[in-house]
């Protein structure tokens, strides 16, 4: 006897209880603290802040813990909180030339004003598992030196002196930077919105697209003009005061890709730029972003659009991992009403074919008999 499936509510609540149990894991082990996550899994926290578009290390660490380390789930948690926050205003554009630089490398110059600073990087580490990390051995303090007085010039500014690189984008003075989390999105987009979408886009997706441009799908001859990581000041204009006040410092990663460009009917031969700026420490994301940003400027620069990475609607519509994961995973929701409709249709079509075959056979037999 069929019993209607009831009790969804109890099932859901039990499932969530089990989830909480699995999240906590073995109770004989101490649980990780938010501070520990923020300090020791800092790059995971950075990724969550970047793709959630919310700079708050504690909340991001909380989201990482709550999501059992599933970073897309953590991004989702943080975004669903961010969306409820009121907007007070826009910050003044960050001045990354004034960054307190911790890492700065350029691939286009052997040496340059401000020097090459490796900073805390995985580059040149040998990827050998380190048994010393199995225990809690003391870790050396980092080497320090006095900050040099030398200004750490941006590579784009060096090239700009010779007029070899295009200027920063020209936007009208009164241009209000768009916000795709508050306004409906429309194609084609301005570069401001596109960069916002890329900055919160999925790291893996952008990595793959950036990689595809290197392998010939929309190749754009990139050089890393500069990557810099460090702290910048965030300032906001307060209308009542008539000047900008500092809101604090945030850590960002900036990548300026310098791309060879032979010129087109729309622009003279010069170096062009792809730009990446990401919350926290995330070189892979900033580099991928700048490759994809440059690829998406194909139309603006009069290049042929031949590859996925150059296709704005394709890239921007699919770069958001919270949207993507939601829609992919919604396939596990019940679809039995639609499936029933398809089932009936397939049965009917098969019956038609069977009937037609039987009729054919009947005819052949009659013909055989007649002969």
């Amino acid at each position: 006897m069929y019993v209607a499936v009831k009790g969804g509510e109890a099932a859901i609540s039990n499932a969530h209880r089990l989830l909480a149990d699995r999240r906590r894991g073995d109770r004989s082990l101490p649980s990780v603290t938010i501070d520990q996550i923020a300090e020791q899994l800092g790059l995971a926290v950075d990724r969550v802040m970047a793709e959630a578009s919310l700079y708050d290390r504690s909340l991001a660490a909380l989201a990482v813990r709550q999501s059992r380390g599933d970073l897309i789930e953590a991004i989702f948690l943080l975004r669903a909180y961010r969306t409820t926050l009121p907007r007070f205003g826009n910050s003044v554009p960050l001045d990354t030339a004034e960054m307190q630089v911790e890492r700065r490398v350029s691939a286009t110059y052997k040496d340059l004003p401000g020097g090459q600073l490796l900073g805390p990087t995985f580059d040149y580490t040998h990827r050998l598992l380190d048994p010393s990390l199995l225990s809690d051995e003391a870790v050396e303090e980092p080497a320090r030196r006095e900050a040099g007085g030398e200004e750490i010039m941006r590579v784009s500014d060096i090239l700009a002196h010779e007029g070899l690189i295009e200027a920063d984008g020209e936007l009208p003075q009164d241009h209000q930077a768009g916000d795709l989390t508050r306004e409906p999105m429309e194609f084609p987009m301005g570069r401001d919105l596109r960069l916002q979408a890329l900055a919160r886009g999925d790291e893996g997706f952008l990595l793959a697209l950036g990689y595809s441009t290197q392998r010939g799908y929309g190749r754009n001859h990139p050089f890393v003009g500069e990557i810099r990581i460090g702290e910048v000041e965030v300032e906001m204009d307060i209308p009542e005061l008539g000047f900008a006040v500092s809101l604090g410092h945030i850590r960002v990663t900036e990548c300026q890709m310098v791309n060879q460009f032979k010129g087109s009917s729309k622009a003279p031969p010069q170096f062009t730029r792809g730009y990446g700026l990401v919350f926290g420490h995330s070189e892979r994301k900033a580099m991928s972003m700048s490759l994809v940003d440059r690829a998406l400027r194909a139309e603006e620069l009069g290049e042929d659009i031949t590859a996925p990475a150059q296709d704005e609607e394709f890239v921007i519509s699919h770069s958001d991992n919270v949207q993507a994961t939601g829609f992919v995973e919604h396939l596990k929701l019940p679809h039995y009403v639609d499936f029933q409709a398809e089932l009936a249709m397939v049965r009917k079509m098969r019956a038609d074919i069977e009937a037609a075959r039987t009729a054919d056979r009947g005819e052949t037999e009659m013909k055989d008999a007649a002969e």
Binding site: T84, T181, E313, Y336, V337
Partner: protein, 294 residues
């Protein structure tokens, strides 16, 4: 860190967002079947799980409303339960499973069997709002096609279906023309439900959160399923009646009973089925038991 991290407004969304969504809804009602872009918010449930419908409901719901949520026609599917619980939590509204008692019905994939009245709003959850999407993937193109009323491609698609399969093989999300102007996706409801949209007394609102679109069919509006003179639109018919309540001419779910091909058909609209049984209607599956008891 404060434990009192966040407090939420009535029905979760802040009032400014609600106003923005209401403006989109009003525009949608004014241009029946036209997809209005709106600044969809990130909701605390995943995209693809009804965020569009939830935002529409959250924007129109008031403390006096009575909410019903169905998924596949049923009130007790997990996602329907979850969305209903969400509104109980954030809006503290009365909820019901009875179609006739509800002022707002949020639905996924079905329209209730019972005729809706003018005091009711049906809110559809929509995954892909663009009926032309699978013919033309680009939004820039499809918007142009709608603007120019260029729907030839859709008719060609339906014609090709007939040429290949001998019939229009679309069984759900069957395209309709609204008020003689816009071709609209009715959301993935089975085409069985399409006629219920036509000249409905209730307001029908459609929310697509991930795709950031809202559209509407105002009450008493023509909704015509696309077809050809020689291949007229037809809805699904079922040979069986509901095994539990004996209903005929309703949409049925097929329930597999064993691994030997045993199956039964029951109402997809669970409220309709329960209501009929309460009123003494008995289907084939329940009848023998009742006789035995007597």
């Amino acid at each position: 860190m404060s434990a009192d991290l966040a407090t939420y407004n009535f029905a979760y969304l802040d009032e400014q967002t609600k106003r923005m969504i209401r403006r989109a809804i009003l525009k949608a009602i004014s241009i029946p079947g036209y997809q209005v872009p709106f600044a969809s918010r990130e909701m605390p449930m995943p995209y693809g799980w009804g965020t569009g419908g939830v935002q529409v409901t959250a924007s129109i719901i008031g403390p006096e409303d009575v909410l019903k949520v169905i998924d596949q026609g049923a009130d007790d599917t997990t996602n329907a339960v979850s969305i209903r619980a969400f509104f109980q939590k954030v809006a503290n509204v009365a909820v019901t499973t009875h179609t006739k008692d509800a002022t707002i019905i949020q639905t996924r994939h079905r329209i209730p069997e019972q005729k809706l009245g003018e005091n009711q709003v049906l809110v559809y959850q929509v995954p892909i709002p663009e009926p032309l999407r699978f013919l033309e993937p680009r939004e820039t193109e499809t918007r142009k096609m709608h603007a120019l009323e260029e729907y030839g491609l859709m008719h060609v698609k339906l014609y090709e279906d007939i040429a290949i399969n001998g019939r229009i093989s679309k069984t759900y999300a069957y395209p309709v023309k609204v008020d003689g102007r816009y071709v609209m996706d009715p959301s993935p409801t089975p085409k069985f439900d399409n006629p219920k949209m036509h000249m409905s007394d209730a307001l029908q609102l459609f929310g697509a959160g991930r795709e950031k679109r809202i559209y509407a069919v105002p009450p008493h509006t023509e909704v015509v399923s696309l077809d050809f003179e020689d291949y007229p639109f037809e809805i699904q018919t079922f040979e069986q009646d509901c095994a539990l309540c004996g209903a005929h001419g309703v949409y049925l779910d097929e329930v597999v009973l064993d691994d030997k091909g045993g199956r039964m058909f029951v109402c997809s609209d669970t409220d309709h089925c329960e209501d009929r049984r309460e009123h003494g209607h008995v289907g084939a599956m329940l009848a023998p038991n009742q006789e035995a008891a007597e």
